[in-house]
Symmetry: C2
Subunit: 350 residues, 2 copies
């Protein structure tokens, strides 16, 4: 049997439509995996998502709309209805690929179909109680650094981005850019500090996730002239923004799990100056597509060395590692490994 | 096989210890069912609850302490771990009796053991999506009035109370009493209105669940003399309070689901004047153990007729209908009916 005939159920969250209209990171990845599998010739892919979702695979839904888009729903009701229904139909699939966090794992002992869980991040250390209780499950990490030491992983599969939305430009802009959620974790204040140290302009874009942090640490630095906040950006606006970029400043204060923004920047040809924490050194090729630094002094120094970076190499680095196609290729290997192990199990018990 | 040899799993929530140290209505009922079954000679009862729970049955737990008593836990993590573990062991039981709301139902299609769910109340209309999706499940309502028209119920089983905590007194006190959560739903303000209309003293006891409501509608009525608020009461304090009671005023503004306070009052020999909404007319025998009314005028009028009520009859009404033993007797009939239907199903499919 051709592996691409295997029946795959991709389980997406139901917070948003899949793919989301705007925000919705996990729904985005679930959509990219589903559409990527179809594009690479997988014939029996079913996406479990909200009923208003869009896919070239078969769509199965039990929840009309995402609970973030319909405040009459109790999120937990939609969540367990959705997950329960997938599990009820587990026997129709050779593999369930869950992108919906820890709750589906609690159904796993009751079904016979193997389940792969992509761990998109540990939202709280307490959720590890569920993961560690299911050490016989199949896990994928989204970077080597975002791993729990006690869990068994089949592999790391980096997130892939849609390159068709991002224009490569060989010619650098003349501003520094901060792109991402405005939150202490993402170090917006450190981007401001860096810009001031090297006397360059800074454009800040992204949703304000922590208003207190914005008011206390970001707003005081904004002068509306050299340091500007331009609000959230959609993909088209992001593309225009990256045209202005001399470099992207990404001085996260906690370990990065993957770092979609870094991949998007490099895809546009923009080098990234990133804090050497978490997955940053996996996404950036140090001194090749950007610089890994430890503080804002080093970041300011790195700005002075940006011209040594070949912007075409940035794009190629993304093409080679962080496209949807590369991601799906990674998952294909994981699926094959799971089928191999499952076949072995059957031999052993037979 | 004696039905009392059947293996029963009682599923309690994990918000609090079972039985709870103070609050915890569902944990209280789950405990009463478990201990009641043991007292009536059931030999294979297992209580699934927090590890620090107390029972004469077999205790199985996966969560150290109630998540309301240990704020390091994410409630949902403990909830799904607990439920998942029970389901994983479903094969060890002849019946699972769930007192833990709607989430366990989503595991039901994956197990072979029948499950009975006591619906302790619909916290939000949206949770009906899950109940209605499992119309093949077994349901018990806690009053005939607290039913959803679309759901099939095996029976109504009224909650039972522990009579050993409540002293019967034939001699009436000289005050009106309000007992229960201070909340608009419970009509604390209407109790004040009634007391003023008939010029009697009123003692108000219970936790303040809605501070705004208390400040706006209750506090202005309290004069510290004729109308007093004495705070929450434990069982011993409640017993002392009921000694003072000429009647209990229970003018709920939304349909009552069951009404534990009414049963407790009557057990002490205290007649109840209650709003004719929801289960009140099931718990109170109108004109026998209290009066059902439609407004505070009727309530004030009913106060004038309290001496017509035989207080011994109030106690006997509770003894006949609302004890733990009566409740467990009710559940025994339900269990027998479930086993009968399950046996029939097996015959049909065999």
């Amino acid at each position: 049997m051709d592996i691409k005939d295997k029946r795959i159920a991709v389980l997406s969250p139901v917070a948003w439509r899949t793919p989301p209209r705007a925000y919705g990171a996990w729904e985005t990845v679930a959509s990219n995996i589903t559409e990527g599998l179809v594009a690479r010739g997988w014939k029996n892919v079913t996406l479990f998502a909200t009923k208003d979702s869009q896919t070239k695979a078969k769509l199965v839904g039990f929840v009309e709309r995402g609970y973030e888009e319909d405040k009459n729903q109790i999120p937990l009701v939609s969540t367990v209805l959705h997950i329960g229904k997938v599990m009820e139909r587990a026997g129709e699939f050779d593999l369930i690929h869950s992108n919906f966090d820890y709750i589906p794992l609690t159904y796993l002992p009751l079904i016979k179909t193997p389940m792969l869980t992509t761990i998109h991040g540990f939202s709280d250390p307490d959720i590890l109680r569920v993961y560690r209780d299911h050490k016989d499950a199949y896990y994928v990490s989204i970077s080597d650094s975002d791993r729990d030491a006690e869990l068994p992983y089949v592999a790391t599969v980096y997130n892939g981005i849609d390159l068709s939305n991002i224009t490569f430009r060989d010619k650098p802009g003349d501003k520094l850019v901060f792109l991402g959620r405005i939150h202490r974790d993402k170090g917006t204040h450190l981007a401001i500090e860096t810009a001031k140290k090297c006397g360059m302009d800074l454009l800040i874009a992204g949703i304000i996730q922590d208003q207190q942090y914005f008011d206390d640490f970001v707003k005081p630095g904004i002068d509306g002239n050299k340091i500007q906040y331009i609000g959230p950006v959609n993909p088209v606006q992001r593309d225009a923004l990256l045209k202005e970029a001399y470099a992207v400043i990404h001085l996260n204060t906690i370990p990065e799990r993957f770092g979609l923004v870094m991949a998007e920047s490099m895809a546009a040809g923009v080098p990234v100056i990133a804090m050497d924490l978490g997955s940053c050194r996996e996404v950036i090729a140090d001194k090749q597509t950007g610089y890994l630094v430890k503080d804002t002094d080093q970041a300011a120094e790195a700005v002075g060395k940006i011209e040594k970076i070949d912007r075409r190499k940035c794009r190629r680095h993304v093409e080679a590692n962080f496209t949807i196609d590369k991601m799906v290729e990674g998952y294909e290997k994981v699926y094959a490994e799971i089928f191999r192990r499952e076949a072995l199990k059957k031999q052993t018990t037979a």
